[in-house]
C-alpha cells in the first residue's frame, strides 16, 4: 500500500490544490504586514461658543489617528495620540508628525484624526474627516490632513440638568475607552483630558450628583493592573497631573 504522502510515486502529478485556501488566508495577512509610511500635517483650529461666537479658553482636544481593521472592522489601535488645550483666543494647535512606519493590521481611514473636544458645561464634540469612499476603502496616501484645519469649532452649551449631563458625558467615556481598555497605557498621553474630567467629577460631587464615571477614578482603582501591563504608575500619574 503506497504511502499517502509519497511524492515520489511515479506517474502522478503533484497536486497543490489544497494550498489555495491556505493562500487565501495567508495572502491578506501577509499584505497586512507590509509597512506603510504615514505622516500628518499640523492642525490649527479655533473653539468658540456657538451662541456668542466668543472664544473658549481651556477646551481640551484629543486628536487620535485611528487604525481600523480586524475581522470585525473596528478600531484596532491608534497610530498617534496628541492633546492640546485652547488658549485665550480659543486657538488649538497640533504639531505635524511623521514620517512614521506602521506595521501590522489596521489602516487609517477617515478618522485621521478624530478630534474629541471637551469643555465643562458644553456638549462634547467628536469631529472626523469626511467619510469619503476612498477613505473608507483605505486608499493610501502618506500625508494625512484634518478637515478641521483652519476651521472654527462651535461648541454648544449643554441644555439639560446635571444628571442629563452625566449621561451625555458617558459618550465621552466610551470614546476615551481606547486610553485604558485592554490594559492600554494610552491614558499617559492625555493628562489634560483626564484632569478636565477629574475637575468635572469634583463639580458633580459637590452638587451631590452621582454616577459620573471618570477615567481618573478608574486608574486610581487599578494601580496594580496597569503596572502589570507595563504602564507607569497610575497613582503617580494622577498625583502629578491632578493638582
Amino acid at each position: 500500500m503506497a504511502n499517502r504522502l509519497d511524492v515520489n510515486q511515479p506517474g502522478k502529478k503533484r497536486r497543490y490544490w489544497y494550498l489555495i485556501p491556505l493562500l487565501l488566508i495567508v495572502w491578506p495577512a501577509s499584505c497586512a504586514m507590509l509597512p506603510l509610511k504615514y505622516s500628518a500635517e499640523p492642525i490649527e483650529a479655533w473653539v468658540v461658543d456657538k451662541e456668542t461666537n466668543q472664544p473658549i479658553e481651556g477646551t481640551v482636544v484629543v486628536a487620535r489617528w485611528i487604525l481600523e481593521g480586524g475581522l470585525h472592522v473596528d478600531q484596532v489601535g491608534s497610530l498617534e495620540i496628541l492633546e492640546a488645550i485652547s488658549d485665550k483666543q480659543g486657538r488649538i494647535y497640533f504639531s505635524g508628525w511623521g514620517p512614521k512606519w506602521h506595521w501590522g493590521a489596521g489602516r487609517l481611514t477617515y478618522k485621521d484624526p478624530e478630534l474629541l473636544v471637551f469643555k465643562s458645561g458644553y456638549r462634547v464634540e467628536a469631529l472626523v474627516n469626511e467619510a469619503s469612499p476612498e477613505a473608507l476603502g483605505g486608499k493610501y496616501w502618506e500625508i494625512r490632513k484634518s478637515d478641521w484645519n483652519g476651521k472654527i469649532v462651535k461648541m454648544e452649551k449643554f441644555k439639560g440638568d446635571q444628571k442629563d449631563y452625566v449621561t451625555h458625558l458617558g459618550g465621552l467615556d466610551t470614546s476615551l475607552g481606547f486610553a485604558s481598555r485592554g490594559g492600554s497605557c494610552a491614558w499617559e498621553k492625555i493628562p489634560q483630558m483626564i484632569g478636565a474630567l477629574y475637575g468635572q467629577r469634583k463639580q458633580f460631587d459637590a452638587a451631590g450628583i452621582r454616577g459620573f464615571s471618570s477615567i481618573d477614578d478608574h486608574l486610581n482603582s487599578n494601580e496594580n493592573y496597569y503596572l502589570s501591563k507595563g504602564c507607569h504608575s497610575p497613582k503617580a500619574f494622577l498625583r502629578e497631573h491632578l493638582q
Binding site: 481600523e68 470585525h72 472592522v73 473596528d74 458617558g170 459618550g171 464615571s213
Partner: protein
C-alpha cells in the same frame, strides 16, 4: 460535533465568499448598552441591587472584569464591546422568517438553550451560573469575581438584541469587513449603516420606547406574531442588499422578502435642500452639478412600519431612496445595468438600464434610527429586567409567630431550592439551611426557621442572603442547566428605625435609617451630635427616594421615629 462542523464550514464559506457582516460598531454598542442599563431596574429600582446586598448603581461600586476593577456600567459596556471579538460575530445573525443564521443563530448562541456550545462562555445560561456563584461562593473575592462576570456577560447578551435592531442581521444581508489589508480588498463592502450609526452615536435617539416585557427569552428575538426585535427589523426595513426594486418601472419589494414594500407614496427633493435640512452644504465635488435644484433630485419612497408589540403603525417616509447617487452621495450620472438585487437568476426580465438606483444613504439611516435605536435600547433593557425579574421575601409567618415564611413576590411560580447563607468573621459565606419549596406567585410558604450560627461568628449579626435556584417561568433547572436564580438580602435586626425628612420632603419621600442601638428613645430625633458620626447608621436604600445622598447630618433635616408598620416593609 455536528455544530462544530457547521461552524467550521460556515467560517470557511464566509472567508472565501465574503459573506460576513457585523453589527453596530462596538462604540455604538457601548452607547446602547449604557442607555439600556440606565433604563433598567438596576438603575430605576434601587431595591433590585439592594436585594443582592449591593449598593445603588450610582454609588459606583467596582467589580473585577476583563479590564481591571470596573463599575457596573463599564462592565456592561465592556461585555457589549467584547461580544464582537474575533469569530464570535459570525453568530450574530438571525432571520426570523427562515430561522437561519450564518453559523449559530443569534438566539441559539446567546441563550445556549439548545445545548452547550464550545467556547461560548458569555451566554444567558452562563450568566445565570455566574450569578448563582456570585451569591453563594464561600470566598468574597470569588463572589465579587462572579458578580463582575455576571454584569459583563449580560453586556454580551444584550449586544444580541441590539444586533437584531440592525436589519442587515435579520435579513442576512451580508458584507465582508476584513480590514486585514491596508487597501480595502475588492470583495470587501463595509456597512455604511454601521459606520454612520457610529459616527452619530452621541446623537442617536435612544429614548422614546418603553422597556419591553416578555415571559420567554426567545420572544426578545422572535415571538411568532411579529413582536420580537428580529421580526420588527426584518419586516419593516430594507437593507443595502435587500432593497426595493423596480418592476415594470414600479417600485416594489425585493424578491427575497415580501416586506417591507413601498406604500405608494414618495417624495422628490433636491439634494441641496435635504442637506440644508441637516445644516450641511453641498459637497465641493457637487457644487457645479447640483447647484440647480432640478439637477440632483432624490426620490424617497415611504413604507408602513408595523409595531406588533405596541399594536401600532406609522410611516417611515424615507424607507429607501431612488436617485442618481450612490449610498455615499458621491457617484452620480452613471447609466448602469440594474439587476434585481434579490434575483438569483439573471433573467433579462429583471434587468434594467437605468441611471437611478435604489440605495440607502444617511437620510434613510436617520429615519431608520428613529425606529430602531429606541427599540434596541428598550429590548436590551427588557432583557436586563427579565434577568432580575424574580422577587421574594423572608417574612413573619402569619400562622405562627415563632416561625417565618418565604413569600413569592414575583409573577411566576418558583419551584426549587431556597438556601440561606450568612457571612462570617473569617470572610467566608456559609450555607445555614436549605428547603425544597414550590411557591405560586403572591403566595408564601411558612413554618420555616433556622438556627443563628455562632461558629464561626457572623460578621454582621442579623444579616443573611436568601437564594433561590430552580424553575421559574420558562427557566428550568436540570442537571445541565442552572435554572432561574433569585436573591434577597435580609436583615433580622431589632434596632430602631427612624425616618429622615430632608428639606422639601413630603409623603413617603423620606429616607429610612436604622440603628443597632436599641435605645427606646429617638435621641437622633433631637438632632444630637450622633449625626456627626454616622458609622453606626446604615442607609436603607430600599426606601431612598430623594435626597443628596450624603450620610452626614445636614442642618434642616428632620428626623423622627419611622411610621408604625414601616418596619414590616423592610
Amino acid at each position: 460535533m455536528k455544530n462544530i462542523k457547521n461552524l467550521s464550514a460556515s467560517t470557511l464559506v464566509l472567508l472565501l465568499l465574503g459573506q460576513v457582516a457585523f453589527a453596530y460598531e462596538v462604540q455604538t454598542h457601548e452607547t446602547l448598552s449604557e442607555a439600556a442599563l440606565n433604563g433598567s431596574v438596576l438603575k430605576t429600582d434601587s431595591s433590585v441591587l439592594a436585594r443582592l446586598g449591593l449598593e445603588p448603581l450610582d454609588r459606583q461600586q467596582k467589580f473585577p472584569g476583563s479590564d481591571g476593577q470596573q463599575e457596573i456600567v463599564n462592565l456592561f459596556k465592556i461585555g457589549a464591546n467584547l461580544e464582537d471579538t474575533s469569530i464570535r460575530a459570525i453568530n450574530h445573525f438571525y432571520d426570523p422568517i427562515t430561522d437561519n443564521g450564518v453559523a449559530f443563530t443569534s438566539p441559539t448562541w446567546t441563550l445556549e438553550d439548545k445545548g452547550s456550545i464550545p467556547r461560548q462562555n458569555y451566554s444567558f445560561r452562563d450568566t445565570r451560573d455566574y450569578f448563582y456563584k456570585a451569591l453563594t461562593q464561600p470566598s468574597k473575592t470569588d463572589r465579587e469575581q462572579y458578580f463582575g462576570l455576571t454584569f459583563e456577560a449580560l453586556g454580551h447578551v444584550i449586544h444580541h438584541v441590539q444586533d437584531m435592531a440592525q436589519p442587515q442581521h435579520t435579513r442576512l444581508d451580508n458584507h465582508l469587513n476584513l480590514g486585514w489589508t491596508q487597501q480595502e480588498l475588492p470583495i470587501e463592502n463595509r456597512s455604511r449603516y454601521e459606520e454612520y450609526s457610529n459616527d452619530v452615536r452621541s446623537n442617536l435617539p435612544i429614548t422614546g420606547y418603553s422597556p419591553v416585557k416578555f415571559s420567554r427569552l426567545r420572544d426578545f428575538w422572535k415571538t411568532g406574531t411579529g413582536a420580537g426585535m428580529g421580526e420588527f427589523s426584518n419586516r419593516n426595513f430594507v437593507t443595502d442588499g435587500t432593497n426595493f426594486t423596480l418592476r415594470n418601472g414600479q417600485a416594489v419589494a425585493g424578491t427575497r422578502y415580501a416586506l417591507p414594500a413601498p406604500n405608494g407614496t414618495s417624495e422628490e427633493k433636491a439634494l441641496v435642500d435635504i442637506l440644508a435640512e441637516k445644516g450641511q452644504p453641498l459637497p465641493s465635488t457637487l457644487q457645479t452639478r447640483c447647484a440647480a435644484r432640478s439637477a440632483c433630485l432624490l426620490t424617497f419612497y415611504a413604507s408602513t412600519v408595523r409595531d406588533v408589540y405596541t399594536q401600532s403603525t406609522s410611516v417611515n417616509p424615507r424607507a429607501s431612496t431612488l436617485s442618481i447617487f450612490d449610498q455615499d452621495l458621491k457617484m452620480y450620472g452613471r447609466t448602469i445595468v440594474y439587476l434585481d438585487p434579490d434575483s438569483l437568476n439573471f433573467d433579462s426580465a429583471n434587468t434594467y438600464t437605468i441611471d437611478r438606483l435604489f440605495v440607502l444613504n444617511r437620510f434613510n439611516f436617520d429615519e431608520a434610527h428613529k425606529f430602531l435605536i429606541p427599540r434596541a435600547v428598550a429590548y436590551s433593557t427588557g432583557l436586563i429586567n427579565y434577568f432580575f425579574r424574580g422577587k421574594m421575601d423572608w417574612v413573619a409567618d402569619s400562622a405562627n409567630s415563632a416561625m417565618h415564611a418565604i413569600k413569592n413576590l414575583g409573577e411566576e411560580r418558583m419551584n426549587g431550592t431556597f438556601e440561606i447563607y450568612y457571612d462570617a468573621v473569617d470572610g467566608k459565606r456559609y450555607l445555614i439551611k436549605s428547603w425544597l419549596l414550590d411557591i405560586n406567585p403572591g403566595m408564601e410558604v411558612g413554618g420555616l426557621n433556622f438556627e443563628r450560627s455562632a461558629n464561626p461568628a457572623p460578621k454582621n449579626p442579623g444579616e443573611y442572603m436568601l437564594v433561590f435556584n430552580g424553575d421559574m417561568g420558562e427557566e428550568k433547572k436540570d442537571s445541565d442547566l442552572r435554572g432561574a436564580v433569585v436573591a434577597k438580602f435580609i436583615e433580622q435586626k431589632t434596632g430602631m428605625l427612624i425616618s429622615v425628612c430632608r428639606p422639601g420632603c413630603s409623603g413617603t419621600t423620606f429616607d429610612i435609617y436604622r440603628s443597632d442601638d436599641l435605645s427606646a428613645t429617638c435621641a437622633i430625633c433631637q438632632h444630637d451630635q450622633r449625626w456627626q458620626s454616622t458609622q453606626s447608621w446604615k442607609t436603607d436604600t430600599y426606601k431612598r427616594q430623594r435626597g443628596t445622598e450624603r450620610d452626614e447630618y445636614q442642618p434642616g433635616w428632620r428626623a423622627e421615629l419611622a411610621p408604625t408598620g414601616y418596619a414590616n416593609d423592610i
